[in-house]
């Protein structure tokens, strides 16, 4: 073991240690040789290097010699152990040859052991490095530090100047990291996939060992390198390149990278690949976990926020419910303000309610809830809280608390009825007109200065909230909230929720307002309805009990309404009439109501009098009036009011009256007839008696016979006239003729008589006097009138006959100068047998009346006129009334 320390020293410290020279000297001494050279075999070059010498120190480390050359040298002994060439010794002039063999054997063994130790130490170092690598793998949680750590270990393990890592990406390779060099020593940091070097490395199974090549992307002189692809299965992750092996301090048999280094690198890269994958996996796992944790936290926060929001929304809901459940305005106000101030609610210290008055553009103070001053606040609130907690349902609490709450005193008294003008008010105008919620802060107040002094004076706080109560269409009021006593700042989240509260409150209040209005309207409508009902019943009563039948017929001829009397007249129950078409009322009434339809067209009132109907109960007479029913709105006719008066009784009475009058007249006539007859009969009878007494005196008898025959003639005339008058109407012969012509004719006939009486007849005739009438009868009338006129005229009297047309009638008048008749006489002149003359039966005018009125449907009358009397008659141009003609035919 004499050599061991020296050999170890050499292996560890190299040539500078002079250890092998010392060994050479030691060998010389042992075998007493002249000189000694020690060579070590460098297997990878198959050469022997001089590592120690007793002479020519300058050659040590430099001189290399092949085996064959060495064999030729004298005194050369090869050092072998276990059939492994280790080195050689050249000893010159050995004197102690007996010790030589033993010595060489010892030396060989020692060299072999020493090298083994060094190699083992290196291996150990490598394993230590590998464990260091494992530590790196363990300790590095992220790919970057893993790479960094790995490269550092690799650099150390391989004794490389530089270790760098190119990461495989889709488009090629990217420089990722390096140990032992700066990034700026890199010429390119990206290599294309088809780059020769990387392609070669990628394709190699285990990697490559190269010496003396230049890499185009590195600004470093490369003496040797090892490069190895990092693979995971078939995928290449990247390439690790170790450049330039650093010479160790001690002697080594090799100085550039060799297969051993490649194996080392390969092994490390493989481990790295795995570790990288694991780290990447871990990394992503960690990231996932972190992300999940973050999300969980975020969710938790959101849930909390949501819960808080829900709680507030539940408040809003309860508040809304409570407000909606009330129909009393003051109660709704109370509920709203309670909800805003209650500890279970929004917990504001005070809440003020102002309601908008559009007419005056003001907000009017309605209610203000909260403690009046700071005294006993805690207790008051605690009490309120206690009360609130009794109720499970907040809405119920609000409702019941509102019922009990007396909101008239306290703060309310300060603002009740007080008006705040919102126009041009910097806060209120925005709230009312623009529906903004304004959070008034001290800073904001400062900017407003005096213009909001009214609110500040009232509230005596420098932070408050002003919220609009918005109804369906517009702002209906304002709520002001503050925390005067607790001074708690007003949060932003609350404002959002409060917006919902005031919106809901606005609608609720508006609803109640509308409800109240509606209720009032309904009440007044109900009152009106009662009055209308009363009036309706009243009028209906009157209508139903009227002795006049009334029916309303619509445009289509349907009977809308009728009263009891109408139904009596028609002979059908009211319910059978109302709603029916008038066709349903039977033929007789159908004609009657047909007129109503014409009234609608002509738009004027029509009256029928004593209209005869063959009704269900026999003949009836009706006075009927048709009045258009105007629609007051658009002045159209919506129907016709038919008023029907049953005048049957009256007509019957009149008929009876006439009958009676006729009878009376008949009596009178009979008396008159008797009178008229009695005179001649008295005379005739009287003279016959006298004749009987004076039968002998023929002269007297002759005189008596004259008188008698005259009286008989008289009798005959009277009988003829009476017969004529009392005859029922004769058959008339209607012809068309000119009335003027007839007048001329009569004047001609009467001219003789007029002259005798010294009376002048004049005429004044109009042109259109054509009529359809019985000419003969009218001639009689005219003659009679003219005759009367002549007889009534004083001597030198004057008669004027006129004719003229009046509407559809022709009027003829005969005027005579002479004594006008008294009223009494006028009333009687048309009565039969009335006369003012000594001559005549007094039937003349009665017959005239009969001809004109009964037979021609005209009219005859007498009236005093000027200095005389005028008799006139008129007849229709077209031959009298139709029904009169009908009666004529019946009569005939």
């Amino acid at each position: 073991m004499r050599f061991f320390d020296l050999i170890m020293e050499f292996l560890e410290s190299g040539y500078e240690s002079q250890a092998m020279n010392k060994l050479a000297h030691m060998l010389c001494e042992e075998v007493q040789a002249q000189s000694c050279d020690v060579f070590l075999f460098e297997a990878y070059k198959s050469q022997f290097r001089l590592v120690g010498s007793t002479h020519g120190e300058e050659r040590v480390g430099q001189e290399k010699i092949s085996r064959s050359d060495l064999e030729r040298l004298e005194g050369c002994f090869f050092l072998e152990h276990d059939e492994t060439m280790i080195g050689a010794v050249v000893l010159k002039e050995v004197k102690k040859t007996e010790a030589l063999q033993e010595l060489l054997k010892e030396l060989s063994k020692t060299l072999w052991v020493a090298e083994k130790i060094v190699s083992m130490r290196e291996t150990m170092e490598k394993y230590e490095l590998l464990s260091e690598l494992t530590d790196v793998f363990h300790n590095c949680g992220d790919p970057d530090s893993l790479l960094k750590g790995t490269l550092a270990v690799m650099k150390k393990a391989l004794n490389a100047e530089v270790v760098l890592y190119l990461l495989k990406a889709e488009e090629g390779y990217i420089f990722k990291d390096a140990e032992g060099m700066d990034r700026n020593q890199l010429i390119y940091d990206r290599l294309p996939s088809n780059h020769g070097f990387v392609t070669k490395v990628e394709k190699s199974e285990r990697g490559v060992v190269l010496t003396k090549i230049q890499l185009d992307f590195l600004g470093i002189k490369v003496r040797s390198l090892v490069a190895c692809p990092a693979r995971l299965g078939q995928n290449v992750l990247g390439i690790v390149i170790a450049v330039n092996k650093i010479a160790p301090t001690g002697y080594r048999s090799r100085y550039s990278f060799d297969e051993l280094d490649l194996a080392t690198l390969n092994d490390m890269v493989k481990r790295y690949s795995l570790a990288h994958t694991r780290v990447e996996y871990q990394q992503s796992l960690k990231e996932q976990i972190e992300r999940l944790t973050l999300s969980a936290k975020e969710y938790e926060r959101l849930i909390q926020q949501q819960q808080e929001y829900l709680r507030k929304m539940s408040l809003v809901h309860s508040l809304s419910n409570a407000m909606r459940a009330s129909y009393d305005l003051v109660n709704v106000y109370k509920i709203l303000l309670l909800g805003l101030t209650s500890g279970r609610g929004f917990a504001f210290n005070r809440a003020l309610l102002l309601i908008r008055d559009r007419k005056t553009d003001t907000l009017v103070g309605k209610m203000w809830l909260g403690p009046e001053d700071g005294e006993n606040i805690e207790e008051i609130w605690k009490e309120a809280e206690k009360r609130a907690m009794i109720y499970g349902d907040f809405a119920q609490y609000l409702r019941e608390e509102a019922m009990m709450l007396d909101a008239k005193g306290g703060l309310t008294a300060r603002i009740d009825g007080r008006m705040f003008h919102y126009k041009d008010h910097p806060i209120l105008e925005r709230v009312v007109l623009r529906r903004k919620i304004i959070h008034v802060t001290p800073a904001l107040l400062e900017s407003f200065e005096l213009s909001v002094q009214d609110l500040v004076n009232l509230l005596d706080v420098d932070e408050f909230l002003v919220l609009p109560l918005v109804g369906r269409w517009d702002t209906i009021g304002v709520v002001v909230l503050d925390n005067k006593f607790t001074k708690k700042p007003i949060g932003e989240v609350d404002i959002e929720v409060l917006r919902i509260v005031v919106d809901s409150a606005g609608l609720a209040i508006e609803n109640v307002m509308n409800y109240e209005e509606l209720r009032k309207k309904t009440e007044s409508l109900e009152k009106q309805k009662n009055v209308i009902d009363y009036l309706h019943r009243f009028t209906e009563n009157i209508l139903q009990n009227l002795s006049t039948g009334i029916a309303v017929v619509d445009r289509n001829g349907r009977i809308i309404q009728c009263n009891r009397m109408f139904s009596n007249i028609v002979g059908l129950p009211q319910e059978r009439i109302a709603g029916e078409h008038y066709f349903e009322l039977g033929a007789a009434f159908q004609d009657l109501l047909e007129v109503a339809m014409t009234v609608q067209e002509r738009r004027e009132t029509v009256e029928l009098s004593e209209y005869r109907i063959e009704g269900p109960q026999g003949e009836i007479f009706l006075n009927v009036k048709y009045s258009p029913l105007w629609d007051p709105m658009n002045e159209t006719i919506t129907g016709v009011i038919v008023t029907v008066e049953d005048v049957t009784q009256k007509v019957r009475m009149e008929q009876e009256q006439k009958e009676r009058e006729k009878l009376m007249l008949l009596g009178e006539v009979a008396a008159r007839v008797a009178h008229e007859l009695r005179n001649p009969i008295t005379v005739i009878g009287g003279f016959i008696n006298r004749a009987r007494k004076n039968l002998s005196n023929t002269q007297t008898i002759e005189k008596y016979l004259d008188v008698i025959s005259k009286e008989v003639e008289n009798l005959e005339r009277i009988v003829t006239e009476i017969l004529e008058f009392s005859k029922p109407k004769s058959i008339l012969e209607f012809t068309r003729f000119d009335m003027n012509e007839l007048i001329e004719e009569v004047v001609y006939i009467m001219q003789e008589k007029a002259k005798k009486a010294n009376v002048i007849i004049e005429t004044k005739l109009s042109s259109a006097a054509e009529v359809v009438a019985d000419r003969v009868k009218l001639k009689r009338v005219l003659i009679n009138l003219v005759q009367n006129a002549i007889e009534a005229s004083p001597p030198s009297g004057r008669i004027l006959i006129r004719s003229f047309r009046e509407a559809d009638r022709v009027v003829v008048s005969v005027f005579n100068t002479g004594e006008p008749l008294s009223d009494k006489e006028l009333r009687k002149i048309f009565t039969p047998f009335y006369t003012t003359k000594t001559q005549g039966t007094g039937l003349g005018l009665a017959i005239c009346k009969k001809i004109v009125e009964d037979e021609h449907g005209g009219r005859i009358w007498a009236e005093p006129k000027g200095n005389g009397m005028e008799f006139s008659f008129e007849i229709p141009v077209k031959g009298g009334k139709e029904d009169d003609q009908g009666q004529d035919t019946r009569g005939g």
Binding site: T682, V683, G685, N689, T836, T838
Partner: protein
């Protein structure tokens, strides 16, 4: 004994003729008038014991005349002679002393006159 004087008033000429002849035959002095005016005039100018008045006459009727005559001469006997029987029931006709319906048989009239003049 002087003859009683009778005035016959009637618008019918033949009645006047008949009555004046008959009553003259009976021994009365008879005068006639054809209407109320003539009658009243004659009554004012002459004195009559009895007046026979027709009722239906133009102008004033017999009943009216009777009323006037009654005022003028309360003692004058008045007989209404008429073709009508219904005037009997007219109160105003009661101004007359008698009411006789015209008839060819003049005996009733004569008896009435005789009775009235006896008184």
């Amino acid at each position: 004994m002087t003859k009683a004087r009778i005035l016959v008033v009637d618008d019918e000429e033949n009645i006047r003729l008949l009555l004046s002849e008959e009553l003259t035959d009976e021994g009365y002095e008879v005068d006639t008038a054809m209407n109320a005016e003539e009658c009243l005039q004659k009554c004012r100018q002459e004195s009559f014991d009895l007046v026979i008045l027709d009722i239906e006459m133009p102008g004033k009727n017999g009943i009216e005349v009777a009323g006037e005559l009654r005022k003028q001469q309360p003692g004058l006997k008045i007989v209404l002679l008429t073709a009508y029987s219904h005037y009997k029931y007219d109160l105003s006709s009661w101004a007359a002393d008698a009411y006789v319906v015209k008839s060819a048989d003049l005996s009733e009239l004569k008896r009435t006159i005789e009775e009235l003049l006896k008184l």
